[in-house]
């Protein structure tokens, strides 16, 4: 073995090097190559499926075979506007989403505040792990577990029995508990991050200027944390609005998701038309959230 380095392949001929030179000289090509995959994904898979869904809302079905007839019609929209059941279900779902969001704010704020302002770093880490841990378990397992908890012979009714009370777990209230539990981490984490960003100096300044703790809380902390709370509420609200598995397992009440799921086999276009409802609601919600500065807190 000799350690002679023959200069027969000069470094500039190396193909990798040539490619990088080429890309350096052509920034547009570089950008195109970089973005091709994500853009293709967004446009074809993401928007594409959405467009197919929305287009099918304007199609008709054959009353006997339930096959889709590709003729333009507005009947599906007429159905969901004229039939009161669709309005009732939409309203029930929106109410549920709002109630779940409210409950999560009430529960999450003290926990997040404790983590951000009070807890020692060690306790804080433990709490973060404890909050993230349920997210590692399957959603379905958690809902089924709640089915057992809420059952007539479940732990809630067992605890209420000595008091002579009973609780109908498979109800809207039961579902509200389940949703509140399921989406709580999605509220705690942004609120925690928002509270942590508030500089301690502001709280000291408030105290120096004679603000008592309640005044500081209401006039300094709450306004500064509001965008984070709204950011968290985007998750709790939209996740509740779209879910169809938990409602199906916990209650016999219908929600937007369960209706779409139930009618999709027979009336796919009507189901597609109905899916406009949550889309519109979420868009409106996001517009309000943006006004409140939530997007800077995400």
């Amino acid at each position: 073995m000799t350690s002679v380095s023959a200069p027969e392949t000069p470094p500039r001929a190396h193909p990798g090097r040539r490619l990088s030179t080429f890309l350096f000289r052509h920034p547009r090509t570089r950008l195109a190559l970089l973005l091709a995959l994500p853009v293709a994904w967004m446009v074809v898979v993401y928007f594409g499926s959405l467009v197919v869904l929305l287009v099918s809302a304007f199609w008709d079905t054959d009353p006997f075979t339930a096959e889709i007839v590709r003729e333009f019609t507005l009947d599906n929209f007429k159905t969901i506007i004229e039939r009161p059941v669709y309005r009732d279900v939409a309203w029930r779902t929106i109410q549920m989403a709002l109630m779940v969001t409210l409950a999560d704010i009430v529960l999450a704020f003290p926990i997040a505040y404790y983590m951000a302002r009070v807890a020692s770093p060690r306790a804080r880490n433990l709490l973060v792990v404890a909050i993230l841990l349920p997210l590692w378990a399957s959603y379905l397992v958690k809902v089924i577990a709640w089915r057992t908890i809420l059952s007539d012979g479940g732990v809630i009714n067992w605890a209420l029995e000595p008091l002579g009370l009973s609780f109908d777990g498979y109800s809207t209230v039961g579902l509200w508990l389940v949703f509140t539990y399921l989406w709580l981490p999605f509220m705690i984490l942004p609120v925690y991050a928002g509270l942590e960003r508030i500089p301690a100096s502001l709280l000291e300044a408030s105290a120096d200027l004679g603000g008592r703790s309640l005044t500081t809380f209401v006039r300094v902390i709450v306004p500064l944390a509001l965008p984070a709370v709204v950011a968290g509420s985007i998750f709790t609200f939209s996740l509740t609005l779209g879910d169809y598995i938990a409602p199906g397992l916990i209650t016999s009440e219908q929600f937007i998701g369960t209706v779409i799921y139930n009618i999709r086999g027979q009336a796919l276009p009507t189901a597609a038309a109905y899916s406009f409802v949550p889309i519109v609601v979420i868009v409106l919600y996001l517009l309000v959230a943006r006004k409140l500065g939530a997007f800077e807190s995400l």
């Binding site: 079905t61 006997f64 096959e67 039939r83 059952s151 007539d152 139930n262 086999g265």
Partner: protein, 400 residues
Amino acid sequence: MRRKRIAVWAALGLLVAALSVVAAGCGGGDDEAGASTDIEGLGTSLEEIQTMARDEGEVNLVQWAGYAQLTDEFEAATGCKVNTKDGGSSDDMISLIQTGEYDGVSASGNASVRLMTTGDVAPIDPDLVPNYADVQEGIKDQDYNSLDGQPYGVPHGRGPNYLMFRTDDVPEDTDSWGVIWEDDQLAKYKGKISIYDDSIFIADAAVWLKATQPDLGIDDPYQLNQEQFDAAVALLKKQAPNVGEYWPGTPASQIAAYTNGDSVVGTTWPYQYLQLTNADPAVPVKAIKPVEGTTGWSDTWMIYSQAAHPNCMYLWMDHMISPEAQAAVAEGFGEAPVNLKACDLTTNENHCSDFHADDEAWWDDVYYWTTPVEDCGDDDDSTTCVTQEDWKTAWTEIRG
């Protein structure tokens, strides 16, 4: 700047237009199957089918939970690996088979008629299914498994939808659907009633009305005129606030609800009843065909008209009507076999008489699931009936 923005919008518009064209184009394939039993890639003789099946190596099935039986034996004998997917309702089954991913389906009457009409399933050649000869004659050539005398698929078995109740909450001598329809009974079992979550359940209300309100003149509970239909829907709406669970077609949640007492009375399939009584400890339940009669099903294994594994599917259809598989599924799911040779092979030697396999009179008041159609399925031009599209809408409204 402004021009650039217009260009972006134009590009987006073009994209949307292009996608709509794609959307309109795909998923078509509505070529009528006609009465030809030809399926691309299917052998022309039994021997050829058996050889070709070895090359296919698998068969993908849409089934009611618990239907595929003796799959190990089938796989060993044919070399076709069996993959099953459970459907929860006939609508489920139809949308699953229409994905084109499956070779065959166990279709009930409210799916099979639609599938035959759309051409999603193909007619079969009975000569290539040797066990077909042993199927009870009375079940062959029915509306729900044949079109113009041409069989589409092989009959699988039939059974009733039972009234099931926990004997520790509901009197043991209950013999009427009244427990889930009459006002005082509804009040008594409020929140503990278990109902199948599908629009076909409207027919169960019609069965009750047929028996209790003869003025309505209901004959076939699936072909209802507007007045009869409205009466059934009104009855169901009255029942709805008292229902504890609308169980989806996957039986697990109903089994759990009866086990822990959240449900005590309602409609069920024999499958759940057998699961509950065979559980350890056994759940105290009883399942009956009430005096008013009941709805039921007579199912058919059908082959997808563009099946990727047609030879394995033919062998599967033959397998499912073999005496051994018929005995296993009859006892496993709880239904009457269509091949009476199975009766000698059941573990419970009385199974066939328990399920009235050979007792046609018993089935007189079991109304098999079928599709509600506008012309009422009769020859009388003056009658019109509510279509299943309206059944489905009404079901959404009943659930509220």
